[in-house]
C-alpha cells in the first residue's frame, strides 16, 4: 500500500511529499518528492543587483537565514576579491552561531513534537526566543535578517550586546543540560531513537549527506574545521561526531553542536576587535567565478556565482544540503516502521525552503 505523506502533513515541516510503500507497518519503499515550494530564486537573482540579492538569500531557509546571506556575501566577496574587516568577521561569526543555536533549537522543538513530547516543543521554543531577541537587537528582524553585506555587516553591534550574548550563552548552557535530562532521561525517547534509522558511513558519504547526519554517521567532516572560512581557525571548538549513525546520534550531535556554538559565541564576543565593520564593495563584479562554502546548521551550503562584469550576477547556483540529504531518504527508511518516519525524517532537520529554492 502506498501512502502519501504530504504536501500537507504534520510530519513534513514544510511542503514536500514522502510516498512510502508499507507492508503492514513496515516500510518497503520510499520516494520523496520536492518542488512544492520552488520559487525560482536562482532565476530571480539574475535580474537583481548583487546587493538586492541579499534579502532573497535570507528567504532561502527560514530556519537559518543568516547563514545563507552570509554564504552569499562570502561568495560574492570571493568573486570581487573584497577583504572584509576583522570586526565584521567576528560579528558575523557570533551572529551565525546564534543562528545555529536558534536553528537547532527549532529542530529540537519540531523533533520533540514529532515524537509526541509536546513539552520539548514548548520549552525549546521558549528558549529559542532568547537568541531570536539577540539577533533582533543586532539586526532588527526576527527571521529574515538582511544583515550581512558584501564587505562587512550592515551595522555595528548594539550597546550591551556583548553582555547580553554572554548571559544568553550561560543561560542556554544551563538549559541544554536540562534538555538532556528531559530527553536522554526519558526511556521512551531513547526507545524511539536508539537504533532507529541506522545510516552507514559509506552510504552517507556516497549519497552526499552532509552536516549533522554525516557527522552522526562517524565522519569527522566539519567545514568550519576542514575548509575554514571567516575567523573560525582562530576560535577553539570541536567538530562533534558520533559513531552510531542512528537518530539518537543525530540528536546527540546537534546537542553537542549547541554547546560548541555557545563556546564559539563567547570567544567571538571576547576576541572581537575594535574597528570598521564594513567597507564599501564595488558595485560591479568582475567576470569570473566565485565560490562560497559554509557549514550550514543542516549541512554543507555552497554557492557558485558567475559574474560578467555588470552589477548583476550572470548565474547564481545554490547548493542546498537538504535537497541532497532528502534524496537519501529511501536508504534510511526502508525496513523501519511507519512511526519511525517521523523520527528519521525529523532527525534530518528538513528545511524545504532551501531544498526547493
Amino acid at each position: 500500500m502506498w501512502i502519501n505523506m504530504g504536501p500537507q502533513h504534520p510530519m513534513t515541516h514544510g511542503l514536500w511529499n514522502l510516498r512510502i510503500k508499507v507492508d503492514g507497518e513496515t516500510i518497503t519503499d520510499a520516494e520523496p518528492e520536492v518542488g512544492y515550494l520552488h520559487r525560482g530564486i536562482e532565476k530571480l537573482c539574475e535580474g537583481k543587483t548583487y546587493t538586492q540579492i541579499i534579502p532573497m538569500t535570507d528567504r532561502l531557509c527560514y530556519g537559518s537565514s543568516l547563514t545563507w546571506s552570509h554564504l552569499y556575501c562570502l561568495t560574492v566577496e570571493d568573486l570581487m576579491g573584497v577583504e572584509v574587516p576583522e570586526r565584521a568577521e567576528y560579528i558575523r561569526v557570533a551572529a551565525i552561531e546564534m543562528q545555529r543555536i536558534a536553528s537547532h533549537l527549532m529542530w529540537l522543538a519540531a523533533y520533540a513534537a514529532d515524537l509526541g513530547a509536546m513539552i520539548g516543543f514548548i520549552y525549546t521554543m521558549r528558549d529559542r526566543e532568547i537568541f531570536i531577541d539577540l539577533l533582533q537587537a543586532l539586526t532588527g528582524s526576527r527571521i529574515t535578517y538582511n544583515y550581512p553585506r558584501i564587505g562587512g555587516v550592515a551595522h555595528d553591534v548594539p550597546p550591551d550586546f556583548e553582555r547580553d550574548s554572554l548571559r544568553a550563552c550561560d543561560y542556554m548552557e544551563k538549559k541544554l543540560v536540562e534538555y538532556e535530562d528531559l530527553f536522554d532521561g526519558s526511556k521512551v525517547f531513547m526507545m524511539r531513537n536508539v537504533g532507529v534509522g541506522k545510516f552507514r558511513k559509506e552510504d552517507a558519504m556516497n549519497l552526499g549527506v552532509t552536516g549533522p547526519p554525516l557527522r552522526a554517521s562517524g565522519v569527522n567532516y566539519d567545514l568550519r574545521k576542514d575548509m575554514p572560512y571567516s575567523v573560525y581557525p582562530e576560535l577553539d571548538f570541536e567538530a562533534c561526531t558520533h559513531p552510531d549513525g542512528d537518530c539518537y546520534a543525530r540528536y546527540r550531535v546537534r546537542m553537542d553542536e549547541m554547546f560548541e556554538s555557545c563556546k564559539i559565541i563567547r570567544q567571538a564576543i571576547q576576541k572581537m576587535p575594535k574597528g570598521k565593520w564594513r567597507i564599501v564593495a564595488p558595485r560591479n563584479a568582475p567576470s569570473g567565478t566565485g565560490l562560497g562554502r559554509v557549514e550550514d546548521p543542516r549541512g554543507e551550503g555552497m554557492m557558485y556565482v558567475v559574474g560578467d562584469g555588470t552589477d548583476k550576477p550572470y548565474r547564481l547556483k545554490i547548493r542546498s544540503p537538504i535537497f541532497v540529504t532528502v534524496s537519501a531518504a529511501k536508504k534510511m527508511l526502508v525496513g523501519y516502521k511507519v512511526a519511525d518516519v517521523v523520527a528519521i525524517m525529523g532527525g534530518l532537520d528538513m528545511c524545504i525552503g532551501e531544498a526547493d529554492r
Partner: protein, 191 residues
C-alpha cells in the same frame, strides 16, 4: 436524493441514509423552520450564542509553507501563546475553520492547496499571512509562484509582514473574530 452541498441545512442533519427521511426532513423541517416565524424566532435566540462560540474557537490548519510558518509555531509557544484565544492547530482539514496560508504558493502546490480548502467544512475562513501569500512578495515575478493566494481562494484576512510577526498573527485572529461577529447570521434563515 443526494445531499446538496450548497445547501447548508444538509450538513447539520445527522446523516441518515434513508432517502425518504431526507426528503421528509427537507420538506417538513425546512418549511417549518426556514420560512416561518418559528425559524426567525429560534434564530433570534440562538444567533448570538452560536456566533459567540464560532468566533471564540478558531481552529487553524497546521500547515506550514515558509518563514511565516515558523512565526505561526512561535505564536503557539509560550511567549505569544495564541491558545489564550482558543486557537488550536489541527492537522486535518476536516476539523479546521481557518486555512492559514503562510508562504508563497507555487504552481505545483496550487491544486493541492485548493483541494485542502475544498476539504474544509464550512463555515470557513482564509488568512493570508505574509507578503508571499498576499501578493507573491519578493517572488512576485517568479515563473513558478502564484502572485497572491487570493487568485484561487477567497481570502478574509491579510496579515502583512515579511515575515509577519507573531503579534501580527494574533492580531489577525482577533480581526477574524471581529469579522465573524460582524457577519452574524442565523443558522436557519441565514439572516
Amino acid at each position: 436524493m443526494k445531499a446538496d452541498p450548497a445547501d447548508p441545512s444538509m450538513g447539520n442533519v445527522l446523516a441518515f441514509r434513508s432517502k425518504d427521511f431526507l426528503k421528509w426532513a427537507d420538506n417538513v423541517l425546512e418549511g417549518i423552520l426556514r420560512r416561518s416565524p418559528i425559524g426567525t424566532g429560534i434564530d433570534l435566540i440562538t444567533k448570538d450564542f452560536f456566533n459567540w462560540a464560532t468566533r471564540n474557537s478558531i481552529y487553524p490548519l497546521h500547515f506550514g509553507i515558509m518563514c511565516c510558518a515558523l512565526e505561526m509555531a512561535v505564536a503557539s509557544a509560550p511567549r505569544f501563546d495564541a491558545q489564550r484565544f482558543g486557537v488550536i492547530y489541527r492537522s486535518t482539514p476536516r476539523q479546521c475553520d481557518v486555512l492559514l496560508v503562510n508562504g508563497p504558493v507555487s504552481k505545483k502546490m496550487k491544486p493541492a492547496l485548493r483541494r485542502l480548502y475544498d476539504q474544509m467544512p464550512g463555515p470557513k475562513w482564509v488568512i493570508a499571512m505574509g507578503e508571499c501569500a498576499i501578493s507573491g512578495g519578493p517572488f512576485y515575478n517568479s515563473y513558478s509562484v502564484v502572485p497572491g493566494v487570493d487568485q484561487f481562494i477567497p481570502v478574509d484576512i491579510y496579515i502583512p509582514g515579511c515575515p509577519a510577526r507573531p503579534e501580527a498573527l494574533i492580531d489577525g485572529f482577533i480581526k477574524l473574530q471581529k469579522i465573524i461577529k460582524d457577519n452574524k447570521k442565523g443558522l436557519l434563515t441565514g439572516k
